[in-house]
C-alpha cells in the first residue's frame, strides 16, 4: 500500500468504499454530473432498523489499497458502479462483457455491483435486471439516487450477513488467518496448530468483526470486539494488528464522542440516530474501564452474544484515552516499514481529533511525527499533496506559521527542477495562500503606519518568489505589481546592491508592461491593490505657494465683512486644535487666480543609492478643473532634502484641494495621496481660486534697478537728481493676460523719511491713460510721471562741525586733503577714497516712493478682486550747492567763500544748463527764505552776489563765488 489518503478521518472507519467508474468513452463532464448525483447518497438509513450505512464514493481507487481490505475493512472496495454510454443494441453484449471485466479488478472484495447504461433504448433496455439500469440519456435519469439507495441496501445485506457469519463462527472451526499483503510470506511453514497461532487468528478475526460491526452501524458491538481483540493481540505481541485494533477502538470512540465528524466538513454528516441518543452519556468518567464478559474470552471461539449489555458506553474510550491509544497504535505501526501509509493516516486522523479537542501542542507532535514518516519514493505530485495536507492540518490546529511554511514548501515542489512541466500557476496560488501566515498583506496601506515590523527576511523571500512565479506564469503585470510592492514596503531592508537589482529587474519588466494604478483582480477573486511609490522619492513637506506679489488678487474692502473670518466667538483662545486632519483640510489664507500658473513646493529626497529619475511628476487635485503641468526630475543618489516645484493652471474658479501627486518611476506610474503619507508636513491643502483677472506688465523709460527696497515691489527704478531737479519717467503698462483691463488706479506713497520735502515728489496725469480703457489683451498704455526732488540741505551737522571746528578759518571740505583726515578722525571713521569721496558724505539724500497701480477686469472684477502692481522709485538727491570753506573775516563783514559747486564733475550741456538754471533759481529762492529766517533771528543781512545775474558768457557755471554775510 503506497498511496495514502490524506483526507481520511476517524469516522471513515465506519464507511464502506464504493467505486464509481466510467466505462468506455464517457464524456468527463457527464460522468462527473452522474458521479455527483450518486455521491449525494452518502448515508442510507436501513429499513426496519435504526442503523445507518455510510458510503465513501471514489472515482479512483488504487487496487493495491484494496489488498489491505482485510486489515481495515473500510479500505475494502465493496461496491462498484460503472457508468457507460451505449448507443445501439449491438454494442450491448460487448458492454456487458466489459462490465464483468471491470468487476474482476476488485472481484475478491466486491459485495455487489451496478451498471448504469446511458443512451440505449429499445428491446435490450426493456429487460428487467437488478444489476443494470438503462437510461435514455444523461439528462433523463430521474431515479439514479433511488437506484443507488437500493444498491446500498443490498450491500448492507451482504455486510450484515458477513458480520453475522464471522461473528457466529463455531469455536471448533478453524479460524482463517487474516493477513496484510506483506505478511503472507512470513506465514509460510508456520505451525498452524500452536496455541500462539490460534490466538493470533482469533485476535485478528475479532478485530475484523469489530470493523464489520462498526461499518454495519453497531457501534457498541464494535467497541466490545475491539477491546477483546486488543487483549488477545497484546498477549501474542502481534503489533501491527494490535495497532489496528487500538485504532479501531479510537475510531469507534471518536464516532461516539463527535457525531458531527472530525473532518471539518460541517453538515456533511448528519448525526446518526443512535449517536444522538447516546450524546448525553459523553464525558463519562471511567469510560475506559474495559468490561468484557470473561466468558467470551475463555471460550476458544468467538461468542455471538456480544450484543449482551456488556459495558455499553463504558467500553468507549474517554477523550484523553483516545489520544493515548492513538499514540500507542502509531508506535506499533512505526515498527513496520511497509505500514507507513497506515501510520501516516493514523497520525492525520489523530490530528483531526486533537484539533477538535483544541489540543494544538499534542496535535503538532503527531504532525511532527507524520513529517518524518518515510513512504519511500514519492512522486512529485504526491509530495505536493503531502505538504499541502500538512499545511492544512497545521492551519486546523492554529499554527499559521507552520502552515505557511509547508504551503510554501508545497509551492516550491510544484516547480521543482525535476518536474518536466513546472506548475507555476499552482505554485503562485499556493504562495498567495501563505501570505497570512507570514503576516503579509498585499495592500501597501497596511504598511504605511510607521516603520515596518515583521519578518523582513522571510517576507522578502516570499515576495521575490511571488514575483518570479508570476513572471513564469506569463503575467508580467502581476510581477510588476509584486515587485513594486516589494520595493515600496521592504525598502528599508534592502541592501544597496539589492536595491539596484530590484530596480533593474523592475525596469526590465515595465519595459514590457508598464505598471499602473489599477486594481489587479486574480481569477480566484483576490484583488491586488495598486502600489503607489510614496518612498521613491520620499516627500517630506508639501507647501502651496502664493502667487508673486504683482499677481496676487486683493479683495475690494467693504464688499464683504472680511474681518471676522474665525468661527470661534473668542478673539483669542489658548486651546488650539492639534489634530492632523484639521491641519490638512485647513484652508490657506491666500488665493490663486484662475488661468494663472500656481505652484506647489515639495521637499523630496531620494533614498536610493543611485540617481533617481522621476518622470511625469504632477499634482492631483480636486474641486476645480486643474491643468497640471508635469515635471521630470532627476534626484542625485541619497540626496538630502531637495525642493521640487510642481506647477499647474486652475481652469475654473472655486476651492481647490491638493490631494497628492503622481509620479512615474522605473516605468511604474503611481498616484500618491497625501493623506496616506507619513511624516509629511503640510500647512493646508485647500486654497480658493478666484476668477480670472488681467495681468499687467510694467516697463519704465528708466533702467530697472537691481535694488528692491522691499519684497512687495514688482519693479523699481532708481535715479540721481540734484536738489530741485525734475525728471520725467514714462511708465508703460501692457496687458499680457487674457482678460480685458477695465479699471486702473494709481496711487503713490512716499516712504517715511525724516527729510522735509517741499512740493510734490511724484506727479502724474492719468487722464490720457484712462481714456484708453478698457485695455484689451496685448495692448499697452503709457503714463508719464514727473519726479521732482526738493529737499532741505541746510544745517547739516557735519557742516556745522566743520564750521565750529575752525575758530577763524574753516578750510571747508576739500575732502581730498589728507590733512583733514588726520585732523578729523572722530567724525569720519570710514575709509575715504579720493574719487568716491562725494558719496561718502551724507550730502546725498535718498527719497523713496512706491507707485501702486490697482487694476482689475474680467470675471474677477465682478467678484470684487483687483490686482496691484507696484513700482518703487528711489531717488538719490544731491545738493546743488556745497559750502566748502568758511572764512571768518575780522572785519565787521563776514565773507563766506562758497567753493566748488559740484557741477564740475559733469559736463554741462546747453540743455542741462538751462534746466539747472531753473534749479538754481529755486535753490536761490529757498536760500533766500532760509536767509530770511536767519536774518530774523540773528539780524544778519546778506546777499548772494551775482547769482541771478550770473551772466556767464560761455554758459559755464563759475566754480565758486563769494557770499558775504553782514552781521
Amino acid at each position: 500500500m503506497s498511496v495514502p489518503d490524506y483526507m481520511q478521518c476517524a469516522e471513515d472507519h465506519q464507511t464502506v468504499v464504493v467505486v464509481v467508474q466510467p466505462m468506455g468513452i464517457v464524456p468527463e463532464e457527464q460522468f462527473f454530473r452522474i458521479y455527483k448525483r450518486i455521491a449525494s447518497v452518502s448515508q442510507v438509513s436501513i429499513r426496519d432498523s435504526q442503523r445507518v450505512l455510510f458510503i465513501r464514493f471514489r472515482h479512483h481507487y488504487p487496487p493495491e489499497n484494496n489488498e489491505w481490505g482485510d486489515f481495515q475493512t473500510h479500505r475494502k472496495v465493496v461496491g462498484l458502479i460503472s457508468v457507460t454510454s451505449c448507443n445501439t443494441a449491438k454494442e450491448w453484449p460487448q458492454t456487458s462483457d466489459r462490465f464483468h471485466g471491470q468487476k474482476e479488478v476488485f472481484g475478491s472484495t466486491l459485495y455487489d455491483s451496478r451498471l448504469l447504461v446511458f443512451g440505449l433504448q429499445g428491446e435490450v433496455a426493456e429487460q428487467q435486471r437488478t444489476d443494470v439500469a438503462f437510461y435514455p440519456s444523461y439528462d433523463d435519469c430521474p431515479d439514479v439516487e433511488k437506484r443507488v439507495e437500493d444498491f446500498v441496501e443490498s450491500i448492507f445485506i451482504v455486510l450484515e450477513s458477513k458480520r453475522l457469519d464471522r461473528a457466529t463462527d463455531k469455536s471448533g472451526d478453524k479460524i482463517q488467518m487474516l493477513c496484510v499483503p506483506f505478511e503472507k510470506k512470513d506465514f509460510v511453514g508456520l505451525d498452524t496448530d500452536s496455541r500462539h497461532y490460534k490466538k493470533r487468528c482469533q485476535g485478528r478475526m475479532r478485530k475484523h468483526v469489530g470493523d464489520l460491526c462498526l461499518q454495519a452501524g453497531m457501534l457498541q458491538d464494535a467497541l466490545v470486539h475491539y477491546h477483546m481483540a486488543v487483549e488477545l493481540l497484546r498477549s501474542v505481541n502481534d503489533f501491527l494488528w494490535l495497532g489496528a485494533a487500538l485504532e479501531g477502538l479510537c475510531s469507534a470512540s471518536v464516532i461516539f464522542h463527535y457525531p458531527g465528524g472530525t473532518a471539518g466538513k460541517s453538515g456533511a454528516r448528519k448525526p446518526s440516530v443512535s449517536s444522538a441518543a447516546d450524546a448525553g452519556k459523553r464525558h463519562r468518567p471511567g469510560a475506559q474501564e474495559v468490561l468484557i464478559d470473561p466468558g467470551a474470552l475463555t471460550s476458544s471461539g468467538i461468542s455471538a452474544d456480544t450484543s449482551a449489555e456488556i459495558g455499553r458506553a463504558k467500553n468507549c474510550l474517554s477523550q484523553e484515552d483516545i489520544i493515548e491509544k492513538y499514540k500507542e497504535a502509531i508506535s506499533y505501526y512505526g515498527k513496520y516499514k511497509s505500514a507507513g501509509v497506515i501510520e501516516l493516516e493514523a497520525c492525520i486522523k489523530a490530528v483531526r481529533v486533537l484539533a477538535i479537542q483544541k489540543r494544538a501542542m499534542e496535535a503538532s507532535e503527531f504532525l511532527q511525527n507524520a513529517v518524518y514518516i518515510n513512504l519511500g519514493q514519492l512522486s512529485e505530485e504526491e509530495k505536493i499533496q503531502r505538504y499541502s495536507v500538512l499545511s492544512e492540518l497545521y492551519e486546523l490546529i492554529g499554527f499559521q506559521r507552520k502552515s505557511a511554511f509547508f504551503k510554501r514548501v508545497a509551492a516550491m515542489q510544484c516547480v521543482a527542477p525535476t518536474i518536466p512541466e513546472p506548475g507555476w500557476k499552482a505554485c503562485y496560488k499556493l504562495l498567495l495562500e501563505t501570505l497570512p501566515g507570514y503576516s503579509l498583506s498585499l495592500d501597501p496601506k497596511d504598511f504605511s503606519k510607521g516603520t515596518h515590523r515583521g519578518w523582513a527576511a522571510v517576507q522578502l523571500r516570499l515576495l521575490h518568489e511571488l514575483v518570479y512565479a508570476s513572471r513564469r506564469m506569463g503575467n508580467p503585470g502581476l510581477s510588476v505589481r509584486h515587485l513594486s510592492f516589494l520595493l515600496q514596503t521592504m525598502l528599508d531592508f534592502l541592501s544597496d546592491q539589492e536595491k539596484k537589482e530590484v530596480t533593474q529587474s523592475l525596469e526590465n519588466y515595465t519595459s514590457k508592461c508598464p505598471g499602473g494604478m489599477e486594481v489587479i483582480s486574480l481569477p480566484d477573486g483576490l484583488k491586488l491593490p495598486p502600489v503607489p511609490f510614496t518612498k521613491l522619492p520620499i516627500v517630506r513637506s508639501v507647501s502651496l505657494l502664493n502667487l508673486p506679489v504683482s499677481l496676487r488678487p486683493h479683495k475690494v474692502k467693504g464688499l464683504l465683512g472680511q474681518g471676522l473670518s474665525s468661527a470661534s466667538p473668542f478673539i483669542y483662545s489658548p486651546i488650539t486644535m492639534h489634530s492632523r486632519g484639521d491641519e490638512r483640510s485647513k484652508k490657506i489664507d491666500f488665493q490663486w487666480v484662475q488661468g494663472d500658473v500656481c505652484e506647489v513646493q515639495l521637499m523630496v529626497y531620494n533614498p536610493m543609492p543611485f540617481e533617481l529619475r522621476v518622470e511625469n511628476m504632477g499634482l492631483l487635485t480636486s474641486g476645480v478643473d486643474f491643468e497640471s503641468l508635469p515635471a521630470a526630475l532627476s534626484l542625485p543618489a541619497e540626496s538630502g532634502l531637495y525642493p521640487v516645484t510642481l506647477v499647474g493652471v486652475p481652469r475654473t474658479a472655486g476651492n481647490i484641494t491638493i490631494n497628492g501627486y503622481h509620479t512615474s518611476v522605473f516605468g511604474v506610474s503611481s498616484d500618491c495621496l497625501l493623506e496616506g503619507l507619513v511624516g509629511v508636513k503640510s500647512s493646508g491643502c485647500m486654497v480658493e481660486v478666484v476668477p480670472s483677472l488681467p495681468r499687467l506688465q510694467l516697463c519704465t523709460s528708466l533702467p530697472r534697478s537691481a535694488h528692491l527696497s522691499s519684497e512687495d515691489l514688482s519693479t523699481s527704478v532708481s535715479l540721481q537728481l540734484f536738489n530741485g531737479e525734475t525728471q520725467q519717467l514714462t511708465i508703460t503698462l501692457e496687458n499680457i493676460g487674457t482678460e480685458t483691463l477695465n479699471t486702473l488706479e494709481l496711487t503713490s506713497k512716499t516712504l517715511s523719511t525724516k527729510e522735509k520735502l517741499f512740493g510734490e515728489f511724484l506727479t502724474w496725469d492719468l487722464q490720457d491713460a484712462l481714456s484708453h480703457l478698457p485695455l484689451k489683451s496685448g495692448q499697452s498704455v503709457s503714463i508719464p510721471v514727473n519726479i521732482s526732488a526738493k529737499l532741505d540741505f541746510s544745517g547739516q551737522e557735519s557742516l556745522l562741525n566743520d564750521l565750529n571746528d575752525d575758530g577763524i578759518s574753516v578750510t571747508g571740505l576739500p575732502v581730498s586733503s589728507p590733512l583733514r583726515q588726520v585732523l578729523k578722525p572722530r567724525t569720519e571713521n570710514k575709509p575715504v577714497g579720493s574719487d568716491a569721496s562725494k558719496n561718502e558724505f551724507n550730502h546725498v539724500k535718498t527719497l523713496e516712493a512706491v507707485l501702486t497701480f490697482k487694476y482689475s477686469g474680467g470675471a474677477g472684477q465682478v467678484e470684487g478682486y483687483y490686482r496691484e502692481l507696484s513700482l518703487g522709485v528711489r531717488v538719490d538727491v544731491e545738493p546743488s550747492v556745497f559750502f566748502t570753506r568758511v572764512s571768518t573775516l575780522p572785519a565787521t563783514r563776514m565773507a563766506i567763500q562758497v567753493d566748488k559747486l559740484d557741477f564740475d564733475s559733469m559736463p554741462v550741456t546747453d540743455h542741462d544748463a538751462l534746466r539747472q538754471a531753473t534749479v538754481r533759481q529755486q535753490e536761490e529762492k529757498r536760500q533766500q527764505v532760509q536767509g530770511g529766517l536767519i536774518n530774523s533771528t540773528l539780524d544778519i543781512h546778506w546777499t548772494i552776489i551775482s547769482f541771478t545775474e550770473a551772466s556767464c558768457p560761455d554758459n559755464t557755471i563759475p566754480n565758486s563765488f563769494f557770499l558775504t554775510l553782514q552781521c
Binding site: M361, S364, Q368, G398, Q400, R401, K402, R453, W455
Partner: protein, 139 residues
C-alpha cells in the same frame, strides 16, 4: 553552543536575530518564525495554570532533524528563542535555562538604556557581545 539566538517582540516581530553559519541565515529565520506557533500555543496554555505563570522558561519548543528550539518569555511577553544543534547532547536543560537568564539580564540592560526605543531592533553592542559568548563556543 547555540547556533541561533533571537529576540522577538510582544507583537511577534523580530527585534534581534543572529545565527552562526551566515549562509543558512534564512533557514533560521524560518525556524524561529515557525517556532512562534508553539510559543503562542504554550502561552495560551500557561494562562490556564496559574502556578506556571512565574515560570518564564518555555522549554523545548520543537525538535527538528538538525536542531532543537528552546523558548523563553519575559513577563512583558518578549520572547527569546535559542536554537541549538541536535547533535550537541551535552547541553542540559539547566544550561539552556542559564543561557536564557543571561540573555534576559542583558536584554534588561538594553531596555534600561534611555536612548533605546522599545520596539526598535536591538543594536546594542553589549547585548551583541553577550550573545556572542553564547554562540562562539560552537567553533
Amino acid at each position: 553552543m547555540a547556533v541561533c539566538i533571537a529576540v522577538i517582540a510582544k507583537e511577534n516581530y523580530p527585534l534581534y536575530i543572529r545565527s552562526v553559519p551566515t549562509q543558512g541565515e534564512l533557514k533560521f529565520h524560518y525556524t524561529v518564525h515557525t517556532s512562534l506557533d508553539v510559543v503562542e500555543e504554550k502561552i495560551s496554555g500557561v494562562g490556564k495554570a496559574l502556578a506556571d505563570q512565574r515560570e518564564l522558561y518555555l522549554g523545548l519548543l520543537y525538535p527538528t532533524e538538525d536542531y532543537k528550539v528552546y523558548g523563553y518569555m519575559t513577563n512583558s511577553k518578549v520572547k527569546f528563542v535559542i536554537v541549538v544543534d541536535s547533535s550537541n547532547t551535552s547541553l542540559r536543560d539547566n544550561e539552556i535555562r542559564s543561557m536564557f537568564r543571561k540573555l534576559h539580564n542583558s536584554f534588561t540592560d538594553v531596555m534600561c538604556n534611555p536612548f533605546y526605543n522599545p520596539g526598535d531592533p536591538i543594536q546594542s553592542k553589549a547585548f551583541d557581545s553577550i550573545v556572542s559568548t553564547m554562540m562562539v563556543q560552537a567553533f
